[in-house]
Protein backbone atom coordinates (compact mmCIF):
# COMPACT_ATOMS: atom_id res chain seq x y z
CA UNK A 1 0.00 0.00 0.00
CA UNK A 2 1.24 3.48 -0.75
CA UNK A 3 0.83 6.49 1.52
CA UNK A 4 -2.27 7.77 -0.25
CA UNK A 5 -4.03 4.43 0.19
CA UNK A 6 -3.16 4.36 3.87
CA UNK A 7 -4.45 7.91 4.36
CA UNK A 8 -7.68 7.10 2.52
CA UNK A 9 -8.11 4.00 4.65
CA UNK A 10 -7.60 6.09 7.77
CA UNK A 11 -10.23 8.62 6.73
CA UNK A 12 -12.65 5.81 5.86
CA UNK A 13 -12.29 4.42 9.37
CA UNK A 14 -13.05 7.85 10.83
CA UNK A 15 -16.06 8.28 8.55
CA UNK A 16 -17.38 4.90 9.68
CA UNK A 17 -16.94 5.99 13.32
CA UNK A 18 -14.31 3.33 13.94
CA UNK A 19 -12.08 4.59 16.74
CA UNK A 20 -8.35 5.07 16.25
CA UNK A 21 -6.24 3.36 18.91
CA UNK A 22 -2.66 4.19 19.96
CA UNK A 23 -0.76 1.75 17.76
CA UNK A 24 -2.92 2.20 14.66
CA UNK A 25 -1.48 4.12 11.74
CA UNK A 26 -2.40 7.80 11.79
CA UNK A 27 -1.27 10.87 9.83
CA UNK A 28 1.42 12.82 11.59
CA UNK A 29 -0.77 15.94 11.68
CA UNK A 30 -3.56 14.03 13.38
CA UNK A 31 -1.10 12.91 16.05
CA UNK A 32 0.35 16.41 16.51
CA UNK A 33 -3.10 18.04 16.63
CA UNK A 34 -4.22 15.63 19.32
CA UNK A 35 -1.05 16.01 21.37
CA UNK A 36 -1.48 19.78 21.25
CA UNK A 37 -5.19 19.69 22.10
CA UNK A 38 -5.01 17.03 24.82
CA UNK A 39 -1.96 18.74 26.29
CA UNK A 40 -3.76 22.09 26.44
CA UNK A 41 -6.71 20.39 27.98
CA UNK A 42 -4.56 18.67 30.63
CA UNK A 43 -2.75 21.90 31.44
CA UNK A 44 -6.11 23.66 31.84
CA UNK A 45 -7.18 21.12 34.45
CA UNK A 46 -3.93 21.54 36.37
CA UNK A 47 -3.82 25.34 36.23
CA UNK A 48 -7.56 25.34 36.93
CA UNK A 49 -6.84 24.06 40.43
CA UNK A 50 -5.11 27.32 41.37
CA UNK A 51 -7.97 29.87 41.52
CA UNK A 52 -10.05 27.43 43.60
CA UNK A 53 -7.26 25.97 45.71
CA UNK A 54 -6.81 29.48 46.99
CA UNK A 55 -10.28 29.36 48.60
CA UNK A 56 -10.14 25.95 50.30
CA UNK A 57 -8.90 27.34 53.59
CA UNK A 58 -11.44 30.18 53.45
CA UNK A 59 -14.55 28.18 52.54
CA UNK A 60 -17.49 29.38 54.65
CA UNK A 61 -18.45 25.97 56.07
CA UNK A 62 -17.13 22.44 56.39
CA UNK A 63 -19.62 21.28 53.74
CA UNK A 64 -18.31 23.83 51.24
CA UNK A 65 -14.75 23.00 52.17
CA UNK A 66 -15.01 19.25 51.54
CA UNK A 67 -16.87 19.89 48.28
CA UNK A 68 -14.24 22.32 47.04
CA UNK A 69 -11.45 20.01 48.11
CA UNK A 70 -13.07 17.12 46.23
CA UNK A 71 -13.52 19.29 43.15
CA UNK A 72 -9.91 20.42 43.11
CA UNK A 73 -8.80 16.83 43.64
CA UNK A 74 -10.95 15.79 40.66
CA UNK A 75 -9.23 18.42 38.54
CA UNK A 76 -5.84 16.96 39.40
CA UNK A 77 -7.23 13.56 38.40
CA UNK A 78 -8.63 14.94 35.14
CA UNK A 79 -5.26 16.45 34.31
CA UNK A 80 -3.66 13.05 34.87
CA UNK A 81 -6.18 11.14 32.71
CA UNK A 82 -5.45 13.59 29.92
CA UNK A 83 -1.68 13.58 30.26
CA UNK A 84 -1.71 9.81 30.02
CA UNK A 85 -3.98 9.95 26.96
CA UNK A 86 -1.42 12.28 25.33
CA UNK A 87 1.37 9.88 26.29
CA UNK A 88 -0.30 7.09 24.29
CA UNK A 89 0.49 9.27 21.24
CA UNK A 90 4.15 9.35 22.10
CA UNK A 91 4.18 12.65 23.99
CA UNK A 92 6.62 12.82 26.88
CA UNK A 93 5.14 13.88 30.23
CA UNK A 94 8.14 15.87 31.42
CA UNK A 95 8.34 17.65 28.10
CA UNK A 96 4.66 18.59 28.31
CA UNK A 97 5.18 20.04 31.78
CA UNK A 98 8.21 21.92 30.54
CA UNK A 99 6.25 23.39 27.62
CA UNK A 100 3.56 24.59 30.01
CA UNK A 101 6.14 26.25 32.25
CA UNK A 102 8.01 27.90 29.38
CA UNK A 103 4.78 29.30 27.95
CA UNK A 104 5.06 27.30 24.74
CA UNK A 105 1.94 25.30 25.55
CA UNK A 106 -1.32 27.09 26.23
CA UNK A 107 -4.13 26.47 28.71
CA UNK A 108 -7.63 27.86 28.98
CA UNK A 109 -7.50 31.64 29.30
CA UNK A 110 -10.29 31.64 31.91
CA UNK A 111 -7.84 30.62 34.64
CA UNK A 112 -5.92 33.84 34.18
CA UNK A 113 -8.73 35.74 35.88
CA UNK A 114 -8.59 36.14 39.66
CA UNK A 115 -11.06 34.57 42.10
CA UNK A 116 -11.68 37.55 44.36
CA UNK A 117 -14.63 36.53 46.54
CA UNK A 118 -16.34 33.37 47.75
CA UNK A 119 -19.08 33.98 45.17
CA UNK A 120 -16.44 33.37 42.50
CA UNK A 121 -16.36 29.72 43.62
CA UNK A 122 -20.04 29.62 42.73
CA UNK A 123 -19.59 31.42 39.41
CA UNK A 124 -16.64 29.23 38.43
CA UNK A 125 -18.51 26.00 39.12
CA UNK A 126 -21.67 27.21 37.44
CA UNK A 127 -20.21 29.03 34.41
CA UNK A 128 -16.69 27.75 33.88
CA UNK A 129 -17.51 24.10 34.54
CA UNK A 130 -20.77 24.59 32.66
CA UNK A 131 -18.84 25.80 29.61
CA UNK A 132 -16.29 23.02 30.02
CA UNK A 133 -19.07 20.40 30.02
CA UNK A 134 -20.52 21.81 26.78
CA UNK A 135 -17.09 21.45 25.22
CA UNK A 136 -16.39 18.05 26.70
CA UNK A 137 -19.56 16.07 26.07
CA UNK A 138 -19.02 15.88 22.28
CA UNK A 139 -15.37 14.94 22.93
CA UNK A 140 -16.55 11.68 24.52
CA UNK A 141 -17.13 10.55 20.90
CA UNK A 142 -13.73 11.76 19.70
CA UNK A 143 -12.21 9.53 17.02
CA UNK A 144 -9.13 8.90 19.18
CA UNK A 145 -10.01 6.15 21.66
CA UNK A 146 -7.94 7.08 24.72
CA UNK A 147 -9.04 10.74 24.56
CA UNK A 148 -12.71 9.75 24.25
CA UNK A 149 -12.44 7.34 27.18
CA UNK A 150 -10.75 9.96 29.36
CA UNK A 151 -13.54 12.38 28.49
CA UNK A 152 -16.27 9.91 29.47
CA UNK A 153 -14.71 9.60 32.90
CA UNK A 154 -14.23 13.36 33.21
CA UNK A 155 -17.80 14.21 32.16
CA UNK A 156 -19.22 11.82 34.75
CA UNK A 157 -17.27 13.52 37.51
CA UNK A 158 -17.72 17.04 36.21
CA UNK A 159 -21.47 17.19 36.67
CA UNK A 160 -21.09 17.52 40.43
CA UNK A 161 -18.78 20.46 39.87
CA UNK A 162 -21.37 22.48 38.03
CA UNK A 163 -24.12 21.64 40.49
CA UNK A 164 -22.14 22.62 43.55
CA UNK A 165 -21.34 25.91 41.82
CA UNK A 166 -24.95 26.59 41.04
CA UNK A 167 -25.90 25.70 44.61
CA UNK A 168 -23.39 28.23 45.97
CA UNK A 169 -24.91 30.87 43.67
CA UNK A 170 -28.44 29.90 44.68
CA UNK A 171 -27.69 30.14 48.40
CA UNK A 172 -26.11 33.56 47.90
CA UNK A 173 -28.99 34.78 45.73
CA UNK A 174 -31.58 33.78 48.32
CA UNK A 175 -29.50 35.25 51.18
CA UNK A 176 -28.94 38.83 52.30
CA UNK A 177 -28.77 41.71 49.79
CA UNK A 178 -25.00 41.80 50.31
CA UNK A 179 -24.71 38.11 49.44
CA UNK A 180 -26.83 38.55 46.35
CA UNK A 181 -24.69 41.49 45.30
CA UNK A 182 -21.62 39.25 45.62
CA UNK A 183 -23.25 36.70 43.29
CA UNK A 184 -24.11 39.42 40.78
CA UNK A 185 -20.58 40.78 40.90
CA UNK A 186 -19.13 37.32 40.26
CA UNK A 187 -21.45 36.83 37.28
CA UNK A 188 -20.45 40.25 35.96
CA UNK A 189 -16.78 39.35 36.03
CA UNK A 190 -17.01 35.75 34.80
CA UNK A 191 -19.66 36.03 32.09
CA UNK A 192 -17.58 37.31 29.18
CA UNK A 193 -14.46 35.27 29.95
CA UNK A 194 -16.72 32.19 30.08
CA UNK A 195 -18.03 32.92 26.57
CA UNK A 196 -14.43 33.25 25.42
CA UNK A 197 -13.70 29.72 26.67
CA UNK A 198 -15.19 28.35 23.45
CA UNK A 199 -12.38 29.94 21.49
CA UNK A 200 -12.34 32.39 18.58
CA UNK A 201 -15.39 32.79 16.33
CA UNK A 202 -15.79 30.22 13.55
CA UNK A 203 -14.75 32.80 10.97
CA UNK A 204 -11.29 33.02 12.58
CA UNK A 205 -10.84 29.53 13.97
CA UNK A 206 -7.79 28.01 12.29
CA UNK A 207 -7.98 24.37 13.36
CA UNK A 208 -11.71 23.74 13.24
CA UNK A 209 -12.32 22.36 9.78
CA UNK A 210 -9.60 19.72 9.78
CA UNK A 211 -10.51 18.69 13.34
CA UNK A 212 -14.10 18.15 12.25
CA UNK A 213 -13.01 16.04 9.29
CA UNK A 214 -10.90 13.93 11.64
CA UNK A 215 -13.74 13.41 14.08
CA UNK A 216 -11.92 15.21 16.88
CA UNK A 217 -14.35 18.10 16.98
CA UNK A 218 -18.08 17.60 16.44
CA UNK A 219 -19.41 21.14 16.77
CA UNK A 220 -17.95 24.53 15.98
CA UNK A 221 -16.90 27.06 18.61
CA UNK A 222 -19.91 29.26 17.86
CA UNK A 223 -22.37 26.36 18.00
CA UNK A 224 -21.11 25.33 21.43
CA UNK A 225 -21.10 28.93 22.65
CA UNK A 226 -24.73 29.30 21.57
CA UNK A 227 -25.71 26.16 23.47
CA UNK A 228 -24.01 27.53 26.55
CA UNK A 229 -25.85 30.85 26.38
CA UNK A 230 -29.16 29.02 25.86
CA UNK A 231 -28.45 26.88 28.92
CA UNK A 232 -27.25 29.65 31.26
CA UNK A 233 -29.67 32.50 30.49
CA UNK A 234 -32.76 30.79 32.04
CA UNK A 235 -30.65 29.67 35.02
CA UNK A 236 -29.60 33.27 35.65
CA UNK A 237 -33.28 34.26 35.52
CA UNK A 238 -33.99 31.60 38.11
CA UNK A 239 -31.28 33.00 40.36
CA UNK A 240 -32.65 36.51 39.85
CA UNK A 241 -29.33 37.97 38.71
CA UNK A 242 -28.61 39.74 35.43
CA UNK A 243 -26.22 38.65 32.73
CA UNK A 244 -24.06 41.73 31.98
CA UNK A 245 -25.05 41.99 28.31
CA UNK A 246 -27.63 44.61 27.26
CA UNK A 247 -28.01 42.84 23.90
CA UNK A 248 -28.99 39.50 25.40
CA UNK A 249 -32.52 38.61 24.34
CA UNK A 250 -34.63 35.60 23.40
CA UNK A 251 -35.25 35.18 19.68
CA UNK A 252 -38.59 33.40 19.39
CA UNK A 253 -38.17 32.64 15.71
CA UNK A 254 -34.78 31.00 16.03
CA UNK A 255 -35.46 29.56 19.48
CA UNK A 256 -32.11 30.86 20.68
CA UNK A 257 -30.78 33.69 22.79
CA UNK A 258 -29.04 36.48 20.94
CA UNK A 259 -25.98 37.91 22.65
CA UNK A 260 -23.74 40.93 22.24
CA UNK A 261 -20.28 41.25 20.70
CA UNK A 262 -17.39 39.57 22.50
CA UNK A 263 -14.22 41.58 23.12
CA UNK A 264 -11.75 39.46 21.14
CA UNK A 265 -8.96 41.94 21.74
CA UNK A 266 -9.15 41.07 25.43
CA UNK A 267 -9.23 37.35 24.60
CA UNK A 268 -6.03 37.52 22.53
CA UNK A 269 -4.33 39.67 25.14
CA UNK A 270 -4.99 37.02 27.80
CA UNK A 271 -3.96 34.16 25.49
CA UNK A 272 -0.71 35.97 24.73
CA UNK A 273 0.12 36.18 28.43
CA UNK A 274 -1.17 39.61 29.40
CA UNK A 275 -4.20 38.59 31.47
CA UNK A 276 -4.55 39.63 35.10
CA UNK A 277 -3.01 36.41 36.53
CA UNK A 278 -0.94 34.72 33.79
CA UNK A 279 2.34 35.46 35.52
CA UNK A 280 1.10 34.47 38.97
CA UNK A 281 -0.33 31.16 37.71
CA UNK A 282 2.88 30.11 36.00
CA UNK A 283 4.99 31.15 38.96
CA UNK A 284 2.82 28.97 41.22
CA UNK A 285 3.13 25.98 38.85
CA UNK A 286 6.89 26.33 38.41
CA UNK A 287 7.39 26.72 42.17
CA UNK A 288 5.36 23.58 42.89
CA UNK A 289 7.35 21.66 40.28
CA UNK A 290 10.73 22.85 41.54
CA UNK A 291 9.88 22.48 45.22
CA UNK A 292 8.75 18.91 44.53
CA UNK A 293 11.92 17.90 42.69
CA UNK A 294 13.62 16.44 45.77
CA UNK A 295 10.52 14.34 46.53
CA UNK A 296 10.50 12.86 43.04
CA UNK A 297 14.21 12.16 43.28
CA UNK A 298 13.98 10.63 46.76
CA UNK A 299 11.08 8.37 45.75
CA UNK A 300 13.06 7.09 42.79
CA UNK A 301 16.17 6.51 44.91
CA UNK A 302 14.04 4.64 47.47
CA UNK A 303 12.52 2.43 44.80
CA UNK A 304 15.92 1.65 43.27
CA UNK A 305 17.32 0.74 46.68
CA UNK A 306 14.31 -1.44 47.45
CA UNK A 307 14.35 -3.28 44.16
CA UNK A 308 17.62 -4.90 45.28
CA UNK A 309 15.85 -6.46 48.26
CA UNK A 310 13.06 -8.97 48.05
CA UNK A 311 9.99 -6.80 47.54
CA UNK A 312 6.84 -7.35 49.50
CA UNK A 313 4.82 -7.08 46.30
CA UNK A 314 1.71 -9.21 46.30
CA UNK A 315 1.20 -11.18 43.10
CA UNK A 316 -2.07 -10.69 41.26
CA UNK A 317 -2.62 -14.33 40.41
Amino acid sequence: MNVIDIETGFQEKIDKEIRIEPRDWMPDNYRQTLIRQIGQHAHSEIVGMLPEGNWITRAPSLKRKVALLAKVQDEAGHGLYLYSAAETLGADRDQMVEELHSGKAKYSSIFNYPALTWADMGAIGWLVDGAAIQNQIPLCRCSYGPYGRAMVRICKEESFHQRQGFEIMHVLCTGTPVQKALAQDALNRFWWPSLMMFGPPDSESTHSEQSKKWGIKRFSNDELRQRFVDMIAPQADHLGITIPDPDLKWNEEEQHYEYGAIDWVEFWQVVKGNGPCNKERMEARVKAWEDGAWVREAALAYSEKNSNHSMSKSKAI
Binding site: E21, Q73, A85, R93, A299, Y302
Partner: protein
Protein backbone atom coordinates in the same frame (compact mmCIF):
# COMPACT_ATOMS: atom_id res chain seq x y z
CA UNK B 1 16.58 13.66 36.19
CA UNK B 2 15.23 10.24 35.33
CA UNK B 3 11.43 10.25 35.32
CA UNK B 4 9.15 7.82 37.10
CA UNK B 5 8.15 4.84 34.95
CA UNK B 6 4.68 4.46 33.47
CA UNK B 7 2.28 1.85 34.86
CA UNK B 8 -0.96 0.58 33.34
CA UNK B 9 -3.83 0.33 35.82
CA UNK B 10 -6.53 -2.35 35.84
CA UNK B 11 -9.50 -2.08 38.21
CA UNK B 12 -12.02 -4.68 39.31
CA UNK B 13 -15.09 -2.60 40.11
CA UNK B 14 -16.71 -5.28 42.25
CA UNK B 15 -16.24 -8.94 43.09
CA UNK B 16 -17.48 -11.12 40.26
CA UNK B 17 -16.29 -8.83 37.47
CA UNK B 18 -13.09 -8.78 35.42
CA UNK B 19 -10.33 -6.31 35.99
CA UNK B 20 -10.67 -3.68 33.30
CA UNK B 21 -8.07 -1.30 31.94
CA UNK B 22 -8.62 2.12 33.54
CA UNK B 23 -5.67 4.12 32.26
CA UNK B 24 -2.08 4.74 33.18
CA UNK B 25 0.01 6.74 35.59
CA UNK B 26 3.59 7.42 36.62
CA UNK B 27 4.95 6.17 39.93
CA UNK B 28 8.36 5.55 41.47
CA UNK B 29 7.50 1.92 42.28
CA UNK B 30 4.66 -0.60 42.21
CA UNK B 31 3.40 0.22 45.70
CA UNK B 32 3.16 3.91 44.85
CA UNK B 33 1.45 2.99 41.58
CA UNK B 34 -1.28 1.18 43.53
CA UNK B 35 -1.70 4.08 45.94
CA UNK B 36 -1.82 6.60 43.09
CA UNK B 37 -4.28 4.39 41.20
CA UNK B 38 -6.53 4.47 44.26
CA UNK B 39 -6.45 8.30 44.22
CA UNK B 40 -6.66 8.74 40.46
CA UNK B 41 -9.10 6.02 39.39
CA UNK B 42 -11.09 5.09 42.53
CA UNK B 43 -12.29 8.34 44.07
CA UNK B 44 -15.92 7.24 43.87
CA UNK B 45 -15.97 3.62 45.02
CA UNK B 46 -15.04 2.34 41.57
CA UNK B 47 -12.61 -0.24 42.89
CA UNK B 48 -12.63 -3.58 44.68
CA UNK B 49 -9.18 -4.60 43.45
CA UNK B 50 -6.30 -2.92 41.63
CA UNK B 51 -3.65 -4.40 39.34
CA UNK B 52 -0.73 -2.36 38.12
CA UNK B 53 1.86 -3.43 35.59
CA UNK B 54 4.78 -1.59 34.04
CA UNK B 55 3.60 -0.40 30.62
CA UNK B 56 6.89 -1.59 29.16
CA UNK B 57 6.05 -5.16 30.26
CA UNK B 58 2.88 -5.36 28.18
CA UNK B 59 3.24 -7.25 24.93
CA UNK B 60 0.75 -6.52 22.17
CA UNK B 61 0.03 -7.78 18.69
CA UNK B 62 0.95 -5.59 15.78
CA UNK B 63 -2.21 -3.82 14.55
CA UNK B 64 -0.74 -3.73 11.03
CA UNK B 65 -1.08 -7.53 11.01
CA UNK B 66 -4.63 -7.61 12.32
CA UNK B 67 -6.01 -9.03 9.11
CA UNK B 68 -3.85 -12.16 9.15
CA UNK B 69 -4.27 -12.57 12.89
CA UNK B 70 -8.05 -12.37 13.05
CA UNK B 71 -8.90 -13.67 9.60
CA UNK B 72 -9.33 -17.35 10.64
CA UNK B 73 -12.41 -16.50 12.72
CA UNK B 74 -14.15 -14.60 9.97
CA UNK B 75 -15.73 -17.30 7.79
CA UNK B 76 -16.72 -19.80 10.48
CA UNK B 77 -20.38 -19.02 10.82
CA UNK B 78 -20.97 -22.60 12.00
CA UNK B 79 -19.50 -21.51 15.35
CA UNK B 80 -22.65 -19.55 16.06
CA UNK B 81 -26.00 -21.07 17.13
CA UNK B 82 -27.89 -19.14 14.46
CA UNK B 83 -26.19 -21.32 11.81
CA UNK B 84 -28.28 -24.33 12.81
CA UNK B 85 -31.84 -25.04 11.79
CA UNK B 86 -34.39 -25.77 14.52
CA UNK B 87 -37.69 -27.28 13.38
CA UNK B 88 -40.77 -25.32 14.37
CA UNK B 89 -42.29 -26.28 17.69
CA UNK B 90 -39.09 -27.64 19.23
CA UNK B 91 -38.42 -25.96 22.56
CA UNK B 92 -35.44 -25.41 24.87
CA UNK B 93 -32.83 -25.38 22.10
Amino acid sequence: MKSWPLYEVFIRSKAGLHHKHAGSLHAADAQMAIENARDVYCRRNEGASIWVVLSSDIIANNPQENEELFDPAEDKIYRHPTFYHVPEGVKHL
